[in-house]
Subunit: 506 residues, 2 copies
Amino acid sequence: MFESAEIGNRLDKAAYDREMPRLRARLIQLQTELINRRSTEVLIVVNGVVGAGRSETAHLIGELFDPRQVEVVPDLPPNDEECCRPPMWRFWRSLPAKGRIGVYFAGWYGPPMEDRLKRRRDKAQFDMELEAIKRFEQMVVDEGALVIKFWFHLSAKEQKKRLEALEADNETSWRVTKEDWKRAGAYRRIRNIAERTVRETSTGVAPWFVIEGLDRSYREIAVARTLVDEISRVIAAQDEATEQKPKLPAPRKAARRRGDPPPLTHLGTTNVLSALDLGLRLSKDDYKQALPHWQGRLARLSREKALRHHGVIALFEGYDAAGKGGAIRRVSEALDPRFYRIVPIAAPSDEERQHPYLWRFWRHMPPRGRLAIFDRSWYGRVLVERVDHLLAEPVWRRAYAEINELEQELVDSDMIIAKFFMVVSPEEQLRRFRERQKVAFKRYKITPDDWHNREKRADYDDAVIEMIARTSTELAPWCLVEGEDKNYARIKVLRTLVETIEKKLG
Amino acid sequence: MFESAEIGNRLDKAAYDREMPRLRARLIQLQTELINRRSTEVLIVVNGVVGAGRSETAHLIGELFDPRQVEVVPDLPPNDEECCRPPMWRFWRSLPAKGRIGVYFAGWYGPPMEDRLKRRRDKAQFDMELEAIKRFEQMVVDEGALVIKFWFHLSAKEQKKRLEALEADNETSWRVTKEDWKRAGAYRRIRNIAERTVRETSTGVAPWFVIEGLDRSYREIAVARTLVDEISRVIAAQDEATEQKPKLPAPRKAARRRGDPPPLTHLGTTNVLSALDLGLRLSKDDYKQALPHWQGRLARLSREKALRHHGVIALFEGYDAAGKGGAIRRVSEALDPRFYRIVPIAAPSDEERQHPYLWRFWRHMPPRGRLAIFDRSWYGRVLVERVDHLLAEPVWRRAYAEINELEQELVDSDMIIAKFFMVVSPEEQLRRFRERQKVAFKRYKITPDDWHNREKRADYDDAVIEMIARTSTELAPWCLVEGEDKNYARIKVLRTLVETIEKKLG
């Protein structure tokens, strides 16, 4: 696979001097285009063998573009904030905003390839990690990113020659480190791992560009050309897309009728919502007994050694006034403030808008040994954003799979996930709205949105039913909470959370 | 000092039920006011002895306000990202945005009091840390924050009674931990440290409120009342301020003429700028020799063990087209990308606008063993923001002291700071502007701002001269770089950076 990059490609200075200025001018144009559109972030992965010009290329890219719009992400070993979170967390955090360019040394390929090199992973594990990478790249591309991956290659012979040459000249000798020679020693093995990686992860959405690193002029022109091709490609594609389908308002009932499979509501006479017994209640006395019991169990559980190896996510969705806030408070009351964080999810900030939609949730993922309580969550995408037609249908449809992968990834790194959906009947909801409006310090809780959402209850129900159907996995099942009676709901939430954690700790 | 909080303050339920709803309604009003104005962030420090109701109060505050606008910051031990940075870094990072409320358990008082308790600090060191805290609080208040500090007190006797009572009742026994009893054991010493802290740091801008924790009703009303008083106080103060001095455009020449002391330009016939010899040059050959020499020294230096204990900041300011970018590139070329980060400073994002102005720079402070290259910096406040009258004079005047304190703090935690100001004559600058406009891929570098700044050169000179006079400390001296000849300038930057680091490593 690398043979084509061992044929001694060179480019004479004249040709270089002719072409480079044109390419640079074009790249600046394209970057301006990117900045104006704010619709695409460019992720450039720079990888390859020692001495093939990785750092030089990173610097080159800094010169080709306006460097103030470029972020260089080195391949550092993860620090402890990163160690205690899922492997992809640090890369999610490092994503550049739309319109900006991120240059990644090795990037998300660094850790798995390094682990494989050091034999900390076997082939099978390695392939699984490559699969996860493919899903990640697919997702960011679906969200508008452009991923350009360079692999700079040198034959073993050329690599040795290059390093020796650099060392001989005492103007450049400082560029060669012991580490470089170590890697050169492992050339064969590194090459094999690289072959596998490049083969497995050269997808349609994010192919690898293998470039011969021997001759600087050739390398730089090759890089610049690739950048021009790729960036102009996405820009052209965007223009086409906007021409072809002008943004029509999504049909009022889009979610209904269509949808594969059709919402369960239409399959039978009953569904997960209508099947709920909203009559369930808990007497004041039983509540007074149960509350300290379950809060105590939760508190003790939170101090258990075993929990230090698990992050916990308690995620709350539900109808307005279904009692999310009250339930969350009963949970947090029981806990040492050092143990938990409440993450209220409102409309995204414009910084958040300029990243793939999961980015703003990755920011708040708890480390091992901590609990994050999400007051609303990534499910907004398939609930409010779907119901209010804020998204084209394909986009929120795609989200089901993306969410399942996200939760899969979290569970893979020993995260415990409890998902609660609080249900209240339209009648009880109305009663609570009115009640809130009576009390001065509760009035602020009622907004026009709440009334708006009430009208869309039917669409909401459909969205909820499909959400449950598609995202209630055995890894992260949904707990539907009968919220008609607050006492009952609060205890059910506490009990379920405790039992979910206990189950995982075994 | 705490005697007044040992007199057994109680409040009967009736009085509580009468007053609390009013207070809550008022607080929600005030919070809405805060959110609409976006001019004030509220920092609430919750501290005190065990069993006096700290956590309960944090929860209370969450209920008194819209919890989605409140961030609770627990007192965790610093993680390694935090350990390798100045002590205040984590608190800067945790500052809530304007309009929001941050509730800090112990907050910035936690670490020093803990260190003092464990005898890791002597009285003198402890007092110094309290001084630093006072400066920090002064700064955030100057920037619009409201700081409310609660100390919850119990007599030793009452504390013991409280813990025993909690333990006796098996509904609440889980609330008491071993740690609690350990602290109760150290009551006397903790009380003394608290006395000193509360006395030393009860300033006009951020006084302590000492509240007796014995009776819950009393405590909660006391807290709620304090919050109402304090928040309405700042809001009233803001209204007054806006009424008194309506925003007039600052007089064209404000910076000139006034200013204490008057800009050095007016003292003598010469000044630090006019004293520069812009004739200094370096021949192409000398440059070709010097560049690899100094890059090599810098590269080797960057790999030295000793450097792992020092963060390095290389900060670049200068006139447009004075060669900042080129100099920065010559520095970064020499370095392993894992060692450095380039931090380009543009106009603040709106997230950044909603914090004290130093916040956006604290975000990017390098950890020990790393280099951060600031392309423009916190000096923008006393340069462009002053010259373009983006700030009232008192605000940028205040900045000199704030900046010196910032750099003091950085140096105190073994940071190495090299500050470069690149100077180019108006004539040469014009030549470079024109040159850039000729080259397609350089044209983007020339913006209307550049021409605008040229016109204000005189004001700029004054600002620069005063900046040098006020912020060139022996801890962090300015290096003025004669930028007329790029070769000379680049080598001077490299050499100065190398020598600054070597000097510190000794």
